[in-house]
Symmetry: C2
Amino acid sequence: MSNRDKHDRMANAIRALSMDAVEAAKSGHPGMPMGMADVATVLFGKVLKFDPTDPHWPDRDRFILSAGHGSMLLYSLLYLVGYEGMTIEDIKNFRQLGSKTPGHPEYGHTVGVETTTGPLGQGLANSVGFALAERMLAAQFGSDLVDHYTYVIVGDGCLMEGISEEAIELAGNKKLSKLIVMWDDNHITIDGSTDLSVSTNQLARFEASGWDSVRVDGHDPDAILAAIEHAKTTDKPSLIACRTTIGYGAPTKSGTNAVHGSPLGAAEIAGARAFLHWDSEPFVIPSDVLDCWRLAGLRSRQAHKSWTQRLKEADLDKRAEFERRIRGELPSKMGDVVANVITKARADGGAVATRKSSEIVLEALTAALPEMVGGSADLTHSNNTKTKATSVDVMPPAYDGRYVNWGIREHGMAAAMNGIALHGGFVPYGGTFLVFSDYCRPSIRLAALMGIRVVYVFTHDSIGVGEDGPTHQPVEQLAALRAIPNLLVFRPCDTVETAEAWKLAMEHKTGPSVLALTRQNLPLLRTDSSERCRTAKGGYELAAASDEAKVSLFASGSEVSMAMAAREVLEGQGVPTRVVSVPCFELFLNQPEESRRQVVGKAPVKIAIEAAIRQGWDSIVGSDAAFVGMTGFGASGPAPEVFAHFGITVDGVVQTALSRLEH
Amino acid sequence: MSNRDKHDRMANAIRALSMDAVEAAKSGHPGMPMGMADVATVLFGKVLKFDPTDPHWPDRDRFILSAGHGSMLLYSLLYLVGYEGMTIEDIKNFRQLGSKTPGHPEYGHTVGVETTTGPLGQGLANSVGFALAERMLAAQFGSDLVDHYTYVIVGDGCLMEGISEEAIELAGNKKLSKLIVMWDDNHITIDGSTDLSVSTNQLARFEASGWDSVRVDGHDPDAILAAIEHAKTTDKPSLIACRTTIGYGAPTKSGTNAVHGSPLGAAEIAGARAFLHWDSEPFVIPSDVLDCWRLAGLRSRQAHKSWTQRLKEADLDKRAEFERRIRGELPSKMGDVVANVITKARADGGAVATRKSSEIVLEALTAALPEMVGGSADLTHSNNTKTKATSVDVMPPAYDGRYVNWGIREHGMAAAMNGIALHGGFVPYGGTFLVFSDYCRPSIRLAALMGIRVVYVFTHDSIGVGEDGPTHQPVEQLAALRAIPNLLVFRPCDTVETAEAWKLAMEHKTGPSVLALTRQNLPLLRTDSSERCRTAKGGYELAAASDEAKVSLFASGSEVSMAMAAREVLEGQGVPTRVVSVPCFELFLNQPEESRRQVVGKAPVKIAIEAAIRQGWDSIVGSDAAFVGMTGFGASGPAPEVFAHFGITVDGVVQTALSRLEH
């Protein structure tokens, strides 16, 4: 069998499995796997460094299927090269409930899937984080332990999403030369020809941002291999435009949008089998082809062994630290670090904005935790995200810095942070204004879905923004973020709660966390000397009533001090009033019902206070409680005047309480 | 006074007002207005077609300040050219509560502001809609009535946001030659030099998408004018890179990030006054300078008069239709059109997906309403957004189509729809999957903040998506959209409610609307013959109980038929059960409390049912009600199995009711 015959048969195995699985599932996307089978065969068959027997080998090349709807391409490859977690039965169960082969690849669900994709452009933007993490980890541990490539397959959809430009510009600016992107240049989108909506010269577009780019026939294995070899030699990130025919092999539907996202049907499949000279029954891979693929799966064995040897020979401390970092374990001293911050904050007293509190915590944390990588979407001195330990920027050709200037690219930042976290070895945190969480919401959602540790530092968290006005004042963002499953949203009220929130966010290995922080100063409220991490309960009584409580005030963040002041007034008027701080809804709602009931208490008047919309608070305080907060967008003006304008004041709370007590 | 001196003094008037206003407000952004004062002076002084005495003249050129933080540039110009709504007192009240000069320009709040900006990149993407609307309206009414340019000022931040690429590619693909973008190329962002985060050759980037681009000295008025004149001659959209010094004139801070977003301080302002030879007291514009500016404000008088004359001479019907379209009034027949759809749907019966119901309604509406412009982010045949009347694509050089292929650019689509609506003459609607509402959230928010009529057709609205899995299954998007103030979120249960929702969305002139629609078929439930638009109440009793209700079931969209089936079962077991359909929370919560109380009723058991998270439902049914829905992300599998897996079934509802009744 000639090399070309062998290649073709290996590629056709992908095509056949993809056709068959989609047909059996009666849904799915055969077009992309059939079109990109040649590219994938070259990549997995000859280039990619990986070991199916150790899918988590830290120095493996990363492969990211940004065009996630082509999931059968990836599942086929995982099966063919011999990942233990992927059998032919799994392929047959494509898109069935509970299978390892869901409609789109899901990280943490299927071994060998590096990131969850499907929402277009995300994988490409993740890859910036993967490739950046590789360079940074190599800078810290040396190229004997960290030296691998990041390969990405993108479709036209990935390149049309705006996030792709953020990723492209970041990769260019950070000179990520070990990032190689293969574009499935098939001229087709769901609605038809790409001409309907795009006239961009993609090669020129990438080159404008400092990429190397070439175009190849995506069905010519030699040309594909040569392009990848060339890409490895450049000192720029690389785009390889692979001109392909979508649904290659399908006799009447290939090259059209009919093949994108539907089963081919029996007749078309029969035609494709004939065209491809593929005689096997559905889901049957001839043993000669499977042997070739399984051999390809062994290609990196020696490289893996050598790497393991190098790790063994490394300095013991270095090895232990490398392994700790890869496991994502925190150093044991972290608890003490946070405790010291709290002790010092209590000694210092005074009013600080929680964005400043966060900086104080970060100074200590980043000094103690070399895995923390900071950054901001061009709001460094507003988000207070830069510390002494992270003062050195990641600035090519040097990657030993720990701070990333993401530019005004919130979405790209969030997606790249996902990539950094997924790569391993780092805990990324990044800042922007809370209102701009809207810009990165799709990536936050994916972090939550994947269950990965990423920390968002969202400052300027309410109308307290003041003069910048309603475009910059979040009112619905807290509710919208609390709506995302598996995302912890912290809104701490002072430095102590901020320190506790940071600790909990760092310890929350199975999901992302938001810290919503103020621009304006807030007094220290947790002045007690307790070492209990009260934020861990999500909500707790901060101040008891002087007698059986008639009023319970519930608040988060900047409104907790308002509640405390209102309590003073009410107590002064003989109304026993308690205050419950609620820094994290999700943690509170996870408490046993009886604990929650105790915290909520039985006061006849309950008032929730938050400079945001009410949505979500009912789950904490009940729908009968009163609410002091926002019902619409904010307004431009000095912050205290804006608060007064919307009635979110101590007096507003007091009057609400008194009027409720009268009824 | 030489022309250059005159120009300089006019530009320095902008600089002085901007410095002074920011200083007085003790907050704001002087750097951009001072840097771009020369460009703005050429544009408003010599080029822009506008009439301060008739700010809404339909054929005015549109000016969009995408870099909205430079609001003092715009406010200065509005004052200087003589907009009646902008006095020197307004300038002095910059950033004060209730002033006409909020921190960022707000459409609908300040006359002369064409769109609300501040969130970066949005104005640029709006401009695609403005320029597209101009071409489309010209195609429909002729260039004697519609023939104007769209000018945009963007900053580095606008160009870094991913949405900018979507806008650039769309403008190139749609060949919007009358769109002229002026980039404030000042090499500075908030965090410092642009080198920190961007290495992109912007001219090459724009050219890659079919733009003409040139670079000029942004402080050379002749060069600026020549560049604009050149831009007008090309058949491509145009980028003019204006190399400027941020904070031009400030002796020590200009050219640095120190001048971006803070008052200059008295000493620096004194230095700038000296450098600029500007002797006037703060807020005082010398009469010679003001005269020059006021004269500039009269430049287009004659053009305006001629246009008015042409409108007067136009065919009466054409004129009436043009004026109706510009006023945004719906034709009176719309009510009948919707009523006919409902009558036919009731006659036809049968189960259809609400995305198909929407198509049925759209067929009738788009045929009757020429102002409707459709589109989809490359999901036309999934969103069912294309009709016979909108079957012709907008495809340059022809702009007489009524359907826009937005490509896979949800964010750019939403922002451009804002621009189309703001331009006037059209009601845009556009589709994508509900889960991808996350991608366009910042633009949806701005539509809500501006109070403009845009309709989002969000299909595939739950786990009913099925096999595509959790990346494509919305669970928190309904809650997150309901969180946005001034946005109507409709989730209709059948064709009748879908028709009513479309009618209400079209009639809702003061804000955007979402239609959340199913992929899966749903039975017709509103089989009565009533002509009342029951959806207008937001929630209503769809089926009464046979006796005093023991159970009230509340549901929206696809779960209403589930509630109806559960009611059958419960009634069969002797449990009087009623069903309340809740197609729109916002409209329901706007009803008088007594009406709401009646609709909610007094049944001892209340259950809300929605294949999404609970958040938000408490405001309708109370926090004591039961809930059948989602608590986390979905799963990939055939839709009925996925529903069963999460217990969102008729039986699940029945069991919940029975177990509640036992307590």
